[in-house]
């Protein structure tokens, strides 16, 4: 059957990650059921001690992240984790890096980037020659480079100010470094080609010791900064905010709160892009936005 072949992946090779690092996080991390009361103890401690608030994170994924930390650090119980968090501030930084999800790609969902290039950015340009973009939850920075490349190929890179933020300063350092595993470039190249980039993605990086080192000149107008969507406040107004696959880790209460922050941080008639399988329809401020493209989940703020 052609259809079946086209859509299924036939996997026989074991996970490369496990082969290389010898970490079999996959099996045990899912076996133990962590109680909600235990998660509450963790979020309470972190809030009190480090002023990070995870209490309104989506329970199901947060639980898996905690289980993952227990596994990675070979901890036998949540109590061990609690004790370590209580006494070891350095460990908390590692915990923060592990608890946040940092799986990303360049030009993820190429059709979304096509829409940005062909519709959204030209629309913004009609009213403002110079404009600004916020990547909220930029992770290791692949999306920032995707945007920079898009703008460069439109010939307007120097007209745009970009701010890229993340909760975790460790991952922000990685974003600034922009040295990506060469094996990740395969999917990035594929996405770039589907997006219909003008050249070949190789134009924008050099290969060094198995890493793709991105051309830093692309991010000359990018400011990377630490910002927590949960506890942080508005710091500027933007014409476009990208926050894709970040709010899926928040519960509805927190989504409402973060949408309020975005609403305040957007000019009127400015755009908000979220992940292709996210939606604002259940959010309190949904009526302040209209859907510009439902397939790509691009919204426009229409009311102050």
């Amino acid at each position: 059957m052609k259809l079946a072949k086209q859509f299924f992946e036939f996997r026989k090779k074991p996970c490369i990650f496990i082969q290389i690092f010898g970490i079999s996080t996959q099996k045990t991390m899912l076996q133990e059921e962590i109680e909600i009361s235990e998660l509450r103890l963790i979020t309470d401690l972190i809030k009190q001690k480090y002023n990070y608030d995870f209490s309104n994170y989506a329970m199901s994924s947060f639980k898996r992240r905690v289980a993952r930390v227990l596994e990675l650090y070979k901890m036998d119980s949540v109590n061990t984790l609690l004790r370590r968090l209580d006494i070891d501030a350095k460990f908390f930084k590692e915990f923060l890096a592990e608890i946040t999800v940092n799986v990303t790609e360049m030009f993820r969902d190429p059709t979304c980037w096509v829409e940005l290039r062909n519709q959204i950015i030209p629309n913004i340009r009609q009213n403002n020659q110079k404009f600004s973009i916020w990547h909220a939850g930029c992770s290791s920075g692949e999306e920032v480079y995707s945007m920079a490349i898009l703008l460069e190929e439109m010939g307007i890179l120097d007209d745009v100010r970009i701010v890229a933020t993340d909760i975790d300063h460790v991952i922000l350092d990685k974003a600034r470094e922009a040295r990506y595993h060469i094996k990740n470039m395969e999917i990035n190249k594929k996405n770039y080609n589907s997006f219909g980039g003008k050249f070949s993605l190789e134009k924008y990086y050099k290969e060094e010791n198995g890493k793709a080192v991105m051309d830093k000149n692309l991010v000359r107008n990018v400011e990377y900064k630490e910002h927590n969507l949960v506890t942080g406040s508005t710091f500027a107004k933007f014409d476009l905010i990208l926050c894709r696959n970040v709010m899926i880790y928040f519960n509805q209460t927190l989504q409402n709160q973060v949408l309020k922050l975005f609403h305040e941080s957007l000019h009127r008639y400015a755009y908000l892009v979220i992940g292709s399988k996210e939606s604002l329809i259940w959010c309190e401020l949904a009526n302040k936005f209209i859907v510009v493209n439902n397939e790509e989940k691009i919204y426009k703020k229409i009311r102050d």
Binding site: F8, F10, R11, K12, K13, P14, C15, E33, I187, G275
Partner: protein, 204 residues
């Protein structure tokens, strides 16, 4: 291989099931297609399918399944409510899970069992939310994804079904589940269809 003998029409079912989760990989497309084709139009229990699929092909799969299905199949959005009578498919490149309050939750976490969506994540979160009011069905596939999930469904008192390995194009997946835990029923595609029809009688 442990094998539970099948006694037809003695499934001891009721009308309190909240969801059916179905996992499949290589060789399961035809099976799923056939099951959907023979599903009663007014089938009540929500069906949630997690099938291994290409990460970078977002469109086409759900459409391909819809061609033969009696009912419309949808890819759920994050935070969407699980609804009666609906059929859902895990979207490409996301893990699909459940939250208390019967809503879907999506995630872009690392792959599990080399897969995103991973069947284990769908099954484990389903077992947590729906407990003994859940039916898990695992079909043909070439890796071990779903075995842990089946174990958890069984522990919580839900019903577990695997496709008869001899009928599978690749039997690694059902075989792994049979090894991991005691499975309630080992059924052929036609028997799975019959099972669903018998379940349906409890809801009409």
């Amino acid at each position: 291989m442990s094998r539970i003998s099948l006694t037809k029409s003695k499934y001891n079912l009721h009308n309190q099931y909240k969801a059916i989760v179905i996992g499949g990989s290589a060789g399961s497309f035809q099976v799923i297609s056939k099951i959907l084709q023979h599903l009663p139009e007014d089938f009540q229990v929500p069906i949630v399918m997690c099938l291994h699929r290409l990460k970078d092909v977002r469109n086409g799969f759900v459409e391909a399944l819809n061609i033969k299905s009696n009912k419309i199949i949808e890819e759920p959005l994050d935070k969407e409510q699980v609804r009666k009578g609906k059929i859902y498919l895990a979207p490409a490149n996301y893990h699909l899970g459940f939250e208390l309050g019967n809503t879907f939750t999506l995630s872009t976490e690392e792959m599990f069992n080399n897969s995103r969506p991973a069947i284990d994540i769908t099954f484990l979160t389903a077992a947590y939310v729906f407990r003994n009011k859940l039916i898990g069905i695992l079909l043909s596939g070439a890796n071990r994804d779903g075995a842990l999930g089946m174990k958890r469904i069984s522990e919580k008192g839900g019903i577990t079904i695997v496709q008869e390995p001899s009928e599978c194009l690749i039997d690694t997946m059902p075989a792994a589940a049979l090894k991991e835990t005691e499975i309630d029923y080992v059924l052929t595609t036609d028997e799975i269809i019959e099972f669903l029809h018998q379940l349906h009688y409890h809801y009409v």
